[in-house]
Symmetry: C2
Subunit: 664 residues, 2 copies
């Protein structure tokens, strides 16, 4: 698995240029056309693409059909009928019982509904009495009402939906000609790879890119073969790539696409075929390889007598791999199927933060999206090409074109959505301090109110209040200690949100303390030890309530922050701090008991702190927040919080204060 | 297959009431909860729903990993390095080669990129020379950067996407717990049913509803069993329904849901369980049955010791069946999976025609949608609950609530889309006269320009010009003969579109004539015979060019239209007129040779006529129409038209006139 580094032949070309080279080379090799057709049963045809137009083989109905249960008659025989002068028609010669769907007997041209006739005659079923004339063709579905033989039912290149299958069947077809699925092989390479679920040793990387890429390609209509992963052995990879090319329409090699010891794909392509592209100016995703392999035997596809098979090398970082797969493989598969690449639903949203993007690169930014007030707001998620969770947590993707160096906060951007637009109005946007109990809340929300979700961006307590002041969030988790009053949050809210009417909702009390490796090898006993030369600390980011607490504790202990090794090294969540200590990257950090327990660390309690939810009054009273409030106030939820350990819930769900005069 | 008639227990209740009864009864029977979980392999989990939250079992990375190919060092060892005073570090003790992804060796805390060091020493690989100090943690991905053990990766009830599978694998999972798919049986009933592809006899109905319903339910996440179709035999159907109930979570019985000889489902449900609903005030779809079957053995699901299984009877007409399935089965399956029912993307569009809807019913209108100028316009498609093509041709569905009696033209309506919103801008809207060559054009368009489509509404030539005058279409096919001048279209355009600048584009010349049954049994020789008492004519609708031609011919022959049997019986397309003659519903009709050939009719030519495309100048010059124009002007397309027979293309693609001064 290789990263974002340089190699002798790494280029930096625009995406459009890369794709143009690709299409040109495919065309030259005779590989730009449509997949051939194959015949499939109707119940296997949904989601496939028609390989030929479907013309009606029969009409539907293929006879004149009664549209009602009743009696078929000739309209002429009913002329002059009225309540005063009812007409009698003999059943079997002048009137014929028909069910809905039955053919109309010869010499009849109208149907009278069952409830509009009286049966009469000795046994009550020999004649019918009618009280009004009927018009010709009343209650008859004429032949061909739905489909007429020879008319176009479905064009070629049509993506088959449920109703299309019905129309094909109804117009006389028992099978359908659909395009063969492009066969796509995915070959994961890297000596360090291990299978999902395997026991892990340092340096092992769980191979899941082939699962992600395979699922994506299958969704786009490809027939995917996930090949066994290979170590970084040039001959073995070369052999596997050539073997895959024999059996597939496209070979995807994952990783091995940049510099370093794993960089084989480009060499194989250059040696066995044509290397078209090596490096595209997109981020994440730069080190991409595109080329054609030349196979010496097999069916020929160009005039030289060679057969060419396209190959794409995708980067190893998961976000890079997924995004470049979508940019390159999706249009290729779509072209072979004769379909436009399926586009994500797009919305316009207000960007909540400044974004800086390199001038020369096209960037794909992962954002959360929610509706706050009347505006859709998009908040960029942190994390580089190695942070798959940025793609999991994202509600959408913002494309920043080459030549655009970023956006200011408040800019309107177009977001390609990863969730259905209808769900955006049911997304509760939390921006502020992180707490494990927010994860619980998110889980309960999804369970109890399907379709509702909690989208949290962790920017620390102060950042959350600032987001509320800009109308970018529904709520902010906050645990800001006012050193002067000993109160939490209130003075900060008064300062940062003077014009906004907000509700301070009690949430949890939590134990803050020092994280230490198991067994406390450095014998740390309290805050004073943080200044020791042999102690490496890991801090939280500016604006985090935990950092405010640390500064308070340092001042109380009369310790200068410059005396602390690692004061400026910062993480954004409790768990990240705990992970730093667990891995030995730091000797000590400050955070909540829950995170220490989760990673099996020693913990020296320093005190309880209050973690509240700050909610604009308008949001608090609105319908969008009601599901969340009902969970917070359910004792079952409080019990689940307590079970985590390190939490108290004495004031959960209580309105602790209402502040501000402005609009909520 | 039964229609829209009445029965002893048919109700007429609002949809909401029916659904409330349904949820209440399911809850009472203990059937309202979530499906239990099952463990599946990761590569089978996409599209499934998590049955439990997924917490990270391991961190990712689970060690501090190099983010670059280069040398791992301790930052302290680089202090003070500069170009003037390079620092040398010994490889193997002070600097360690690492590939991207490798763990950082103990006692190192930064990585220097390969290209930033010089190798030196006797063999060139014993030490590295560096020219600048590095910061601690440079080019290192700290443990837990992506996921930290114990953090929430995915909530319960989450619909799994490709990236989610990766995150589950990356956080240490080798399998996933997902909800079992609700097992849904579909039982088609009706003596008249035959399998798709079978030879047809009058009265046979091709059974395709189970294909359509099965594909829909599978898409919503159900595990579908399509049962063999059954004749209308009460005992056999009862036995099959009860057997299906033993093995499934929901039984759908298709047809047999209204009055008539096929009406068994309601009786079975009433006898073996609880009939909850029989008849919902929706259109199409009225005769729906909802109930619970009580099974005497098997696992128990309530305190009475009975097991209940829900059953839904859906109407036989295909549009009714599909729409009621969506309204009733989709939310049921979604609830069992813990998901919100997937909503269609919605857009606002301008309705082009008046729509009348019954006050007491909720109606689901099928519409075509296209972007004309800056507006999205929606045009209702003709056809009742038996016209499946209205659902195939529809771009979207407009819901008309109870209590709303319709819309005026120009009203803004919300359209639930059946195609992706991005494709609407690539939909060319043709409203006007019908011609077979428009089907060819639609097919070529889809083949040559994937994603582009031609959506035609057939309202006759005059209707098309009126649609253009209201800005509702991109083009109108027209063949309106001016009896005074012998010219086609021009005088009509001057009258109807005085203020619109339009281009008249030559398209096809076509042969009009009389359609007669094979062998011409009534010996019809020309227009004069239409007035014969024994000849039943079938006409085209008012405004159709063919009707204008008929009236012209009648006046020339001095025949009064009232003398013609069937002058007022009208069809909307050439093929529908041909079908009426082919089936014996009429003895004669007027139309084009292509339609007569398609249905193997005799044809008496009456003359050639000109069929042009009328296009507002603004549209003609715009990008949206370019694909269509390129096809029209391609000689290969003209050859395909000629092959149909009855067509000439002497002026295809030529601009015959430019009229009007107004905006195009």
């Amino acid at each position: 698995m290789t990263g974002h580094s340089h190699s002798p032949y790494l280029e930096d070309i625009p995406l459009d240029t890369a794709l143009q080279r690709w299409w040109d080379a495919l065309a030259e090799a005779g590989l730009h056309g449509l997949m051939p057709g194959e015949i499939v049963a109707l119940d296997e045809a949904v989601g496939r693409v028609t390989a030929a137009p479907v013309w009606a083989a029969v009409s539907s109905p293929h006879y004149h059909a009664s549209a009602m249960d009743g009696y078929a008659v000739h309209a002429d025989a009913t002329r002059g009928a009225s309540e005063m002068r009812p007409r009698q028609l003999k059943v079997g010669t002048e009137a014929f019982y028909v069910d809905t769907g039955d053919p109309i007997p010869p010499h009849t041209n109208a149907v009278i509904m069952l409830e509009d006739v009286q049966l009469s005659g000795p046994s009550g079923a020999q004649q019918i009495e009618i009280l009004a004339p009927v018009a010709p063709w009343q209650h008859i579905r004429p032949m061909g009402e739905d489909m007429v033989a020879t008319e176009l039912i479905l064009p070629a290149n049509h993506l088959l939906r449920a109703q299309d299958i019905g129309a094909a069947a109804g117009s006389g077809h028992g099978t359908l000609a659909v395009r063969q699925k492009p066969r796509v092989a995915i070959l994961p390479t890297g000596t360090e790879l291990v299978k999902p679920g395997a026991a892990l040793h340092p340096g092992d990387i769980i191979e899941y890119n082939s699962l992600v890429l395979g699922a994506m390609v299958a969704e786009w209509g490809g027939a995917v073969t996930r090949l066994p992963m290979l170590s970084d052995d040039y001959e073995a990879i070369r052999e596997a790539v050539l073997a895959a090319a024999e059996q597939h329409d496209l070979v995807i090699v994952n990783a091995g696409s940049s510099a370093g010891s794993e960089d084989f794909t480009a060499r194989i392509v250059a040696e066995v075929g044509r290397l078209l592209v090596h490096g595209i100016a997109i981020r994440p995703g730069h080190p991409v390889i595109m080329g054609l392999l030349r196979l010496s035997d097999g069916p020929l596809s160009d005039e030289t007598g060679d057969r060419w098979v396209p190959v794409i090398g995708l980067p190893g970082y998961p976000v890079s791999a997924a995004i470049t797969c979508e940019l390159l493989v999706k249009p290729t598969v779509a072209r072979w199927l004769g379909r436009p690449p399926e586009e994500r639903p797009a919305v316009e949203a207000i960007l909540t933060r400044k974004v800086v993007s390199p001038d020369g690169e096209e960037e794909y930014l992962r954002v959360t999206v929610g509706k706050v007030g009347e505006r859709l707001v998009a908040t960029p998620l942190p994390g580089g090409s190695g942070v798959l969770m940025s793609l999991v947590r994202a509600d959408g993707i913002v494309r920043i074109p080459r030549g655009v160096t970023g956006f200011e906060p408040g800019a309107t951007v177009t977001v390609g959505l990863l969730k259905s637009p209808g769900l955006l109005a049911r997304t509760i946007v939390a921006i502020g301090s992180h707490d494990l109990t927010l994860d619980l809340l998110a889980d309960e929300l999804g369970q109890r109110f399907p379709g509702t979700s909690l989208s949290s961006a962790n920017v620390g307590s102060l950042g959350g209040l600032l987001a509320l002041s800009r109308g970018e969030a529904h709520l902010a988790g906050s645990h800001l200690l006012d050193e002067a009053t000993g109160e939490y949050n209130l003075s900060y809210i008064r300062r940062i949100l003077p014009a906004v009417k907000v509700v301070v909702l009690g949430f949890v009390q939590r134990e803050q303390g020092l994280f230490l490796p198991k067994g406390n090898p450095k014998g740390i006993r309290g805050i004073a030890d943080l200044a020791r030369e042999d102690v490496a600390f890991i801090n939280r980011q500016r604006g985090a309530g935990t950092r405010v607490l640390l500064d308070y504790l340092l001042r109380q202990a009369n310790i200068d922050s410059s005396a602390i090794q690692g004061y400026h090294r910062q993480e954004f969540t409790h768990l990240a701090v705990a992970a730093a200590v667990a891995s030995g990257a730091a000797d000590c950090g400050l955070g909540i008991l829950g995170a220490a327990r989760a990673l099996d660390l020693d913990f020296i309690p320093i005190g309880e702190e209050q973690y509240d939810l700050i909610i604009p009054a308008g949001v608090y009273e609105g319908a969008a927040l009601a599901p969340l409030l009902s969970i917070i106030r359910d004792p079952a939820f409080a019990r689940r919080v307590i079970k985590l350990g390190g939490y108290g819930t004495p004031r959960i769900g209580q309105v602790l204060a209402e502040l501000g005069d402005g609009p909520g």
